[in-house]
Symmetry: C2
């Protein structure tokens, strides 16, 4: 992890674009890539791509572009891909069940180790490969299973209480899938996953286009 | 929709922050808000907040701030909140079921009108309040139910095929929840909802902090 030093001050918007580039490079296997190529595919100006990548230690070559293996290696460092994390899901409804059984986390060294619910009718049943545990076991399980991240998949009115319990139990980060805004102490990382955000971005594009009548796709 | 004219060229990052402000104002009821207050709560510099809000027609007042009702009204316009949309979900697994039955869309005048799956064993069963339809009915149903947005909740290897069918059936936008990158013609709006993105943002914060040892929460 030593090398992640120095990336702590990356602006949020830059970090978001770096993630786009990382995703693009993961999906398009090749040896070299140019800022024009990647920018063109992602709807980002080539100058912006070059500016963003200038935060990296690895520098591309004029007229040749960036060696993809080098770019990916450094982007993996920035995103702490190698860091091993244990995650617990609170809320065993459809969303919690979907997150718990999502197959894409292992690639990022993240393992779901527990699924909790407060409904006694659900406790002890299986949702996919997980046996649902009672939230009463949460503090003990978080410590025993060394849970780093707690994902909140409960109804909005229960979200803060669940967050408090997770914080007390010592998680490093909270991933909030509920639509309510929760508060955590400054030493805990909070990431809000707001699904209506995507919907509003789509609505914006449809609204903008409905009078403009052209076919340019705004970059989402 | 007339008034949405002129917002079509908002930079993506600005749009993302405008959504943060909109969300903040929806959750914090008050008459006036200052850029310091909102920026402080959201981890955005007050200057940045003022710059972002300068894209709006409504201007705040020095020393008084912004009237929340005016800000919200214009942000609702920008995000096309009043626009009525019909959405269809393809893929009736856990994630598709969670999206179909998510309660937060109605607030944004968006109605889920159909849920599809290709598995004959699922077709005809209920997932929450939705009877699962066969994907073979998709083109007809999209036209009959006037579906505007198609949400893709199928496994990655089936995503492009589903996208093609949705496009052929005439949807305006595709909301891709699968982890694979899909292609659509330029006249169709595409929004990728990549759940691992949130995870990598969390991993970045944990990695950065693990050597820095301080308590500053990077803004996620």
């Amino acid at each position: 992890m030593e090398k992640t030093r120095g990336y702590g001050s990356l602006p949020k918007a830059t970090l978001g674009r770096l993630h786009m580039y990382y995703r693009y490079l993961s999906l398009h296997q090749r040896d070299f890539v140019s800022s024009e190529e990647m920018g063109g595919a992602l709807g980002v100006l080539p100058e912006q791509v070059r500016k963003d990548l200038s935060y990296l230690r690895y520098k591309g070559k004029p007229r040749v572009g960036y060696r993809v293996s080098e770019l990916r290696k450094e982007l993996e460092e920035i995103f702490g891909v190698e860091l091993e994390l244990n995650m617990a899901i609170v809320g065993a409804g459809r969303l919690g069940g979907a997150i718990a059984n999502y197959e894409g986390f292992e690639r990022y060294r993240t393992r779901v180790v527990a699924l909790f619910d407060k409904d006694p009718a659900k406790v002890g049943t299986y949702v996919g490969k997980f046996r649902v545990r009672s939230v009463d076991e949460l503090p003990e399980a978080v410590r025993e299973l060394q849970v780093d991240v707690g994902a909140i998949c409960v109804p909005p009115d229960a979200a803060q209480e669940v967050a408090d319990r997770l914080v007390e139990s010592g998680v490093k980060a909270i991933w909030n899938f509920s639509p309510s805004q929760i508060k955590v102490p400054p030493e805990v990382i909070l990431r809000d996953e707001d699904i209506t955000r995507g919907l509003l971005m789509i609505k914006h594009s449809i609204a903008v286009r409905s009078f403009r009548g052209d076919d340019r796709t705004p970059e989402l």
